[in-house]
Structure formats: structure tokens, C-alpha cells
């Protein structure tokens, strides 16, 4: 059986071993307050709370986690706090859901706490599905116990003895790591019956998602756990009242749960001292796209987009001009470069037509076509719509058809208005969040980059030079007449004499780009 005494012993025994290893590896530094952080410019401006142990501890070792105060928060709440007090601290901290919507975690817990039921459930939503997002995955693979501990604390707070982690099957390493972590925690008596010898019992099981994005939506997730087809439920009851199998249920995202233990270690005041008033704490972003240093960044809420992209990400790749930043994945929007000084928090991003979302952050430069970006995300939504409600199932399909038409150069007058009208209906009439936000990539690009849509439709031109169908290959007078392009053209549409400038017959050209690749002097351009 685990006791507080034993936990301390493990910590004291393991900490020096861990420090030795880290010193040898040389990637970290130990600060005066005893915290261990990663070295390097990339990490300088970051504040790592959810990722505090990632890349530092060995995820397969529960002792490593304990060495860095792991499970001390669980011990503390079990011995020193009543469930109501635990909830009070969570309310005070104002930790907001990191899955995207930003609902206050304490309020969620409080609601489930209120209901009397023979069974309650804690679900960890690990069905991370936004394209390019891998925050939750890194936590699950790098620091699984922080999530388990967070779930156990939530369980104690609301009176639940069963937890489920709904993790996508496409994350095999996360599944393996979690399985091992659960096993270790059970062995140590930190999960299972009578945790720390108290009368609090809490068990966690894994449930693997079968690859449907919509199962990240809370009610679809519960349907899936119940063994049904993953389609969102109509919200007659709140999940905290009647959720999984009709019982009070809490669904928290991975990153939210990873924040939980440290809030009880350091207190709500400490947590609120980071970030902004309305959005305290940090947020992890998957900084990707045309940025020099891509990867996970965890920053205090309220940091500007500019700081994230330039100070941490090192600026735009190839030193091109930044055009936009896409946040929030398929539910988010494209933020134009002139709004780069917007602070990143739930309210500020919503105000400019995007969302915080789960933390995808894609940097785009002048070669990225905004219509095509909208098309890309719509394509994703159409693929992932569950098919239950009409506006999402039928409407997103029609929006995608229009966007495809536009990017293929077949756009017509009235298409923009049709997109806007459909977007309005889909967002106001859809059943779940997937449909309600599906048109955001279109509305935000229409808001900030309407000219690009017009250029595609009226001038049959893609200003970013990215839509293949609207490109024209052209040989400039830099041509030295080496004939290489003509010899390599698969459809023989390039003519010209040796040592004379060559010409592409655009009627026959299939826009494969071979001529551009083989030209030794860069004389082939697209326009």
C-alpha cells in the first residue's frame, strides 16, 4: 500500500538518480527553486506547465514522475481537503478547458459534484484530431502520470470511482505508454482500490477510438464508449448531469488534466499569476507550417502571436513575408499578418474570427493560397462529418464543391454570396460543434482575404501562385536554349531551337512542373 511516507522515500531516492542522468545528457538546467527546465533559445520564452515533465522524465518510470513531486497533489487532496474544497481551488484557479471551448473546469466539476448518483465517470478526452495538432499526444507519450493523477483528483472531487481515457488508436505509442503507466500506478496503490489507504477508490480504463474525428466531441465520444456509432447526441441533458450511461460525467481534455496536479501543488493563486485574468495559465501550441523552428510551444496566455512566431519560432521559413496564422484547426480561422499583435487567449482570438481551439497554429506565407486553405479544411470536415444532421452533412459538402470550383478556376459570380449564406445556416443550425464551426475557415478567409476569392473568380488568377489549375508555366528571356526542358516535357509542348529562347504551348501543357525542375538557369516561372 502506498503511504505519504513511502511516496517521499521514492522521491528522495529517485531525484538524485534523475538529476545525474539529466546532467549527463546536458539538455536541461536545474533552477534555484529546484525546477528542471529544458535549455535553449526555443524554450527561453516558454513557460512549461502542462509539458513540465515532457522530455525530462522517463515516461515509462513512475518513480521519475514521483521524483518531480508526482502524486503529491493526489496525496494532498486526499488527506487534507474535502471534495468541496478541491472544487473550490479549481474554481479559484479558473483553469479553462484546453480542448478548445475554454469552459471553466471548476464549474464543470461542481456541476457533476452536485448530482447524487450511484455512479459517476471521469473521461479524459485524448481523441486529438485536428490536422497538425500533437499537444495531447506529447503529454500522453511524455508524461502519462500527470494525466492519471489529474483524473484521480477529479474523481475524488466529484465522487467518481471510474475513469476512461478515450484515446485514438492512431496513437499506438501513447496507448502503450498509458497502459504501462496505469499498470504501475495500480501496482503502487495510486490507482485502484483504497488509494493511499483511504476509502477513495479510482480505476482507469482505456478506450480506443476507431479514427473518427467527431468522437472528440463529448457526446459522440460517450456514444462511442458505450459501444454505439460515434454520432453526437442532441443535448437534452448536460453531460455533468446525465452523461456516460446516463450518469454524471466529466470530460476533460488531456492538457487540462495535466494542469490539474500542479495547481494543487502550487495553489490557485500561483496559477492565476500566469497568463491573463480571464484566461489564466498557459496553452500548448503545435507551431507548424512555414516557421523556422516548428514544434510544441507552451506559453502564458496573452502572449502575442508575433512573439510566438518570431521570438520562439524564429520567424518565417526562407525569410518570406508572413501572410496569416491559422489557429484552431478545422474549427478555427485564418488571422491576417496585420493582427499579429493580438494576444493569444480565448476571448481575443474569438473576437477576430478564429478560436483558440486545441492548439494548432499554422504559419502561412505569401505562397499559401487562402482559398485553398479554406478548401483544405472544408475537405477535412466533409470527410469527418458524421452524417447525422442535415446542415453539416449536406451543407459542408456543397460549400466544398463551391470552393473546389473556385480553386479550379471555374468560380462564378454569386459563389461568395452562396458560401456566406450556407456558412450562416450551417453554423446556426448544426447539431454539434463540428458543424457549428465548420465554416469558420471560410468565413475568416472571406473576412480578411476576400480579394483572393475575387481574383480566383473574376480574373481566374491565384495571387499566391498555389492553385495549380490557375497557373501558367512561362519561360523568361533568361532561357539559354539548352533544350533540356523540351527534352524532358512529357507532353512535348515546349518548342525552340538550340541556344534560342524556348516557348511553352500553354494549351497542351499539363502543368506538371518538370520543365521548372530541370531548367539549369531558373528561366521557367509560373505566373
Amino acid at each position: 500500500m502506498m503511504t505519504l511516507e513511502k511516496l517521499r522515500e521514492i522521491k528522495e531516492k529517485t531525484r538524485p538518480i534523475l538529476e545525474d542522468r539529466l546532467k549527463k545528457e546536458g539538455k536541461t538546467e536545474i533552477r534555484e527553486d529546484g525546477s528542471i527546465v529544458l535549455k535553449g533559445d526555443y524554450y527561453k520564452k516558454q513557460v512549461r506547465i502542462a509539458l513540465r515533465n515532457c522530455e525530462i522524465i522517463n515516461p515509462d518510470s513512475i518513480d521519475d514522475y514521483i521524483a518531480l513531486d508526482g502524486y503529491s497533489a493526489l496525496g494532498k487532496v486526499l488527506f487534507e481537503m474535502t471534495p468541496a474544497e478541491v472544487i473550490d481551488v479549481m474554481m479559484e484557479s479558473n483553469l479553462r478547458g484546453r480542448g478548445g471551448a475554454g469552459f471553466p473546469t471548476g464549474r464543470k466539476w461542481n456541476e457533476a459534484f452536485k448530482y447524487d448518483a450511484d455512479k459517476k465517470y471521469i473521461i479524459c478526452n485524448a481523441d486529438e484530431g485536428d490536422p497538425g495538432a500533437f499537444m495531447d499526444r506529447s503529454i500522453l507519450e511524455g508524461d502519462p502520470h500527470s494525466v492519471l493523477e489529474g483524473m484521480a483528483i477529479a474523481g475524488y472531487a466529484v465522487g467518481a470511482d471510474q475513469g476512461f481515457i478515450y484515446v485514438r488508436a492512431e496513437y499506438p505509442l501513447a496507448v502503450k505508454t498509458l497502459k504501462k503507466a496505469i499498470e504501475q500506478a495500480k501496482e503502487y496503490g495510486l490507482l485502484g482500490k483504497n488509494i493511499f489507504g483511504t476509502d477513495f477508490s479510482f480505476d482507469i480504463e482505456l478506450r480506443l477510438g476507431a479514427g473518427a474525428f467527431v468522437c472528440g466531441e463529448g457526446t459522440a465520444l460517450m456514444e462511442s464508449i458505450e459501444g454505439k456509432r460515434g454520432m453526437p447526441r442532441v443535448k437534452i441533458h448536460r453531460t455533468a448531469h446525465k452523461g456516460l450511461w446516463g450518469k454524471p460525467t466529466i470530460i476533460n481534455n488531456v492538457e487540462t488534466l495535466a494542469n490539474v496536479p500542479i495547481i494543487y501543488q502550487k495553489g490557485a493563486d500561483w496559477f492565476r499569476s500566469i497568463g491573463t485574468e480571464k484566461s489564466p495559465g498557459t496553452k500548448v501550441f503545435a507551431l507548424v507550417g512555414k516557421v523556422k523552428e516548428s514544434g510544441l510551444v507552451e506559453v502564458p496566455m496573452g502572449m502575442t502571436l508575433r512573439e510566438i512566431v518570431f521570438d520562439i519560432g524564429g520567424g518565417v521559413a526562407d525569410d518570406r513575408a508572413i501572410k496569416a496564422i491559422q489557429t484552431g484547426g478545422p474549427s478555427g480561422g485564418c488571422i491576417p499578418a496585420d493582427l499579429l499583435d493580438t494576444p493569444v487567449d480565448f476571448e481575443s482570438l474569438a473576437k477576430i474570427g478564429s478560436i483558440m481551439g486545441s492548439g494548432g497554429m499554422v504559419v502561412m506565407d505569401e505562397t499559401d493560397c487562402m482559398v485553398d486553405i479554406a478548401r483544405f479544411f472544408l475537405d477535412f470536415t466533409v470527410e469527418e462529418s458524421c452524417g447525422k444532421c442535415v446542415p453539416c452533412r449536406e451543407g459542408t459538402k456543397r460549400m466544398l464543391e463551391i470552393l473546389e470550383k473556385i480553386t479550379e478556376g471555374n468560380g462564378e459570380e454569386g459563389d461568395i454570396e452562396r458560401l456566406e449564406s450556407l456558412a450562416e445556416t450551417i453554423s446556426s443550425a448544426s447539431l454539434c460543434g463540428l458543424g457549428q464551426t465548420a465554416s469558420n475557415p471560410v468565413t475568416s478567409t472571406l473576412q480578411y482575404f476576400r480579394d483572393e476569392y475575387i481574383a480566383h473568380i473574376r480574373d481566374k488568377r491565384c495571387p499566391a501562385g498555389s492553385c495549380q489549375a490557375l497557373l501558367e508555366y512561362y519561360i523568361t528571356d533568361a532561357c539559354i536554349g539548352c533544350t533540356k526542358c523540351a527534352r524532358n516535357c512529357p507532353v512535348s509542348c515546349i518548342s525552340g531551337k538550340v541556344k534560342e529562347r524556348h516557348v511553352i504551348d500553354t494549351e497542351t501543357c499539363i502543368k506538371c512542373g518538370t520543365c521548372m525542375e530541370v531548367c539549369p538557369v531558373g528561366a521557367v516561372i509560373t505566373r
Partner: protein, 313 residues
């Protein structure tokens, strides 16, 4: 049960607190359009046609799933609501074949009725349409996926009978379809032709094949009769034209009974002057059958004959 009073389209109504808005509206004679809602089935909120505006609520809410509250003020035909309904109907029509002229469902089709009510028309486009997959394997039911609006009523009613549960959703997004037993046909699946699904289908996606071509519904005289096969008495409808009884179709299961083929065939036999040949499913095939076998009374008739013959002797 406590009662609550609310206002719908300016009229006050008092209803039990477990009522949904659509039920309360019905009390006032206000017909909120809905394709997936059925008071006898689980509420799913899928068609989104029953959206209404509730004062104080930013979003439109589905009236099938929103419970009434004291003092609630609901408007069912605001500009915003009508725009959403028109768009939803247009989206459905855009995927639906323009076949009302010959569709058996015409006159009773809810999509047709609502399209008329909101003045939404078919239009030409070169985008996607639902696949033309038609299951003709059954002599009793015709399933036309191209007309399906995926309201899921058939799935829900089928799953209410524990040992049936034949119908389910398959695929996702625009490619979602209703399938039988993981995509089998009426013939190869364990469907028992009870026609519960046909009863609830709001469009022409599931129709009673024995009615097809016999009459347009507006030409028919429809009389409801109780089934006499068992004591429960599910309801059937007898359709006649010019005094001639043409067809029998399922109307509603009775409390505790699920509707069945035997009941329907027996009702046909009792009421129709000239019923079509019955069929039985033997193995994975529908085969033409005698009436005595179809309603499984062959043994009984034989026995009766024997007994009566003995008496006569």
C-alpha cells in the same frame, strides 16, 4: 407532474413540464415542421428543421429536444428560422431525385409537403447526389437510397424490437447510408418484413411494394382496421378506390406488439377482394407461397378438415 405556462407565437399555453416545445406547439395547433421527430421514437435532433427562436437564447434551438420552461417565449416562424428551414430543405432537395411525379409517396411525403410550404424547389446542379442504390429483393418493401434523407426513424423503430435491430447507419458524412445487417439486402438480412420502417419513413425511401402502382393516395379511401391475428390488435389501413379494396398497409404497432407480416397478410386476406400472391422467406430467398403456408395455418386447416370429416362420418 407540474405544469408550466409558456408563450408560442404570441399565444399562451399551459402544458406538463416534461413537454418539449414541439409538443406544446401542437396543443396550440401550431405545426412545427420536422422530419426526424416522432413522438414514439427517441429524440435525436438530426433534421434540424424544427429549429425555433427562444427569447433570451442566442442560438436557434430544436423544438423537439428543448423542454418547455415557465415563462419561455418561443417564436416558430421568424425570419431567421425560416431562412434556416429553407436552406435545410434546399440542401435536402439538392441531393434528392426529382421524382415526385411517379413516386409512390407523393401526397404523403413530408419533404414534398415542407418544400411546398416553404416554397423551395428542385434546381439543377452538377454537384453530388445520393447514390442510386435500390434494393428490389423484397416483394414487400422497396428501399431507394437515392430518396433517403437519413432521418434515422427507420433505424430507431427497428431497434425498438430487441430481436430485430436489422437497420443501422453505415458510412459517414455525405456517404452515410441506411443498411440492413451490415449491408445485406431484404432477402439476405434477418428482416422479417414487419414494415415498421415503412410506416415511419417520411419520404419515398422505404415504401410498401404491394401498394405500388395501385392508387395515388389522394384517390384512395383509407380505413383503419385492427389486426385480428392476436389479441393486441396492431392497426392496419385498407385502401380502396371506387368501392374496390385494393391494398392493406401497416399503420401502427399496438402497445406491446411490434407489427408483423403474418398480421398484415391475414388482414389482406380478410379485407381484400383480390390480394396479391403472398411470399415467404425461405433461407435467403423470397418464394411465392400458398396463403395457408404464408400465414402458417396449413396444419390447422388440415386438422380442422380431419376433425370435421370425422364428425360427418
Amino acid at each position: 407532474m407540474k405544469n408550466v405556462t409558456l408563450t408560442i407565437d404570441g399565444q399562451k399555453v399551459t402544458v406538463p413540464e416534461n413537454y418539449s416545445i414541439i409538443q406544446a406547439a401542437k396543443e396550440l395547433g401550431i405545426d412545427i415542421p420536422a422530419l426526424c421527430y416522432d413522438p414514439n421514437l427517441e429524440v435525436v435532433g438530426a433534421c434540424r428543421l424544427c429549429l425555433v427562436e427562444i427569447e433570451g437564447s442566442r442560438k436557434l434551438e430544436t423544438s423537439c429536444s428543448t423542454k418547455v420552461r415557465e415563462g419561455m417565449v418561443v417564436n416558430t416562424e421568424t425570419e431567421k428560422v425560416v431562412k434556416a428551414r429553407k436552406d435545410i430543405l434546399q440542401l435536402l432537395l439538392d441531393s434528392h431525385p426529382n421524382d415526385c411525379l411517379t413516386c409512390q409517396k407523393a401526397g404523403e411525403c413530408l419533404l414534398q409537403a415542407y418544400a411546398y410550404r416553404y416554397d423551395v424547389k428542385f434546381r439543377e446542379h452538377d454537384g453530388a447526389m445520393r447514390p442510386k442504390l435500390i434494393d428490389t429483393s423484397s416483394p414487400y418493401i422497396l428501399k431507394d437510397d437515392s430518396k433517403c434523407i437519413l432521418c434515422g426513424k427507420c433505424v430507431r423503430t427497428c431497434s425498438q424490437v430487441d430481436d430485430r435491430q436489422v437497420l443501422s447507419f453505415a458510412g459517414r458524412g455525405y456517404d452515410t447510408r441506411i443498411v440492413l445487417d451490415l449491408d445485406k439486402t431484404f432477402e439476405t438480412s434477418k428482416c422479417v418484413s414487419c414494415n415498421r420502417c415503412v410506416v415511419v419513413c417520411p419520404v419515398g425511401a422505404l415504401v410498401d411494394k404491394r401498394l405500388m402502382g395501385k392508387t395515388r393516395i389522394w384517390d384512395a379511401e383509407v380505413k383503419t382496421v385492427d389486426c385480428k391475428v392476436c389479441a393486441y390488435g396492431c392497426e392496419f389501413e385498407v385502401l380502396s378506390k371506387k368501392g374496390k379494396k385494393l391494398a392493406v398497409r401497416a399503420k401502427a404497432p399496438s402497445n406491446g406488439r411490434p407489427l408483423c407480416l403474418k398480421g398484415r397478410l391475414t388482414t389482406e386476406l380478410m379485407h381484400l377482394d383480390n390480394p396479391d400472391k403472398p411470399y415467404r422467406k425461405i433461407g435467403n430467398k423470397f418464394v411465392e407461397s400458398s396463403w395457408t403456408k404464408a400465414i402458417s395455418i396449413a396444419d390447422i386447416i388440415e386438422k380442422i378438415n380431419k376433425l370435421e370429416n370425422n364428425e360427418e362420418k
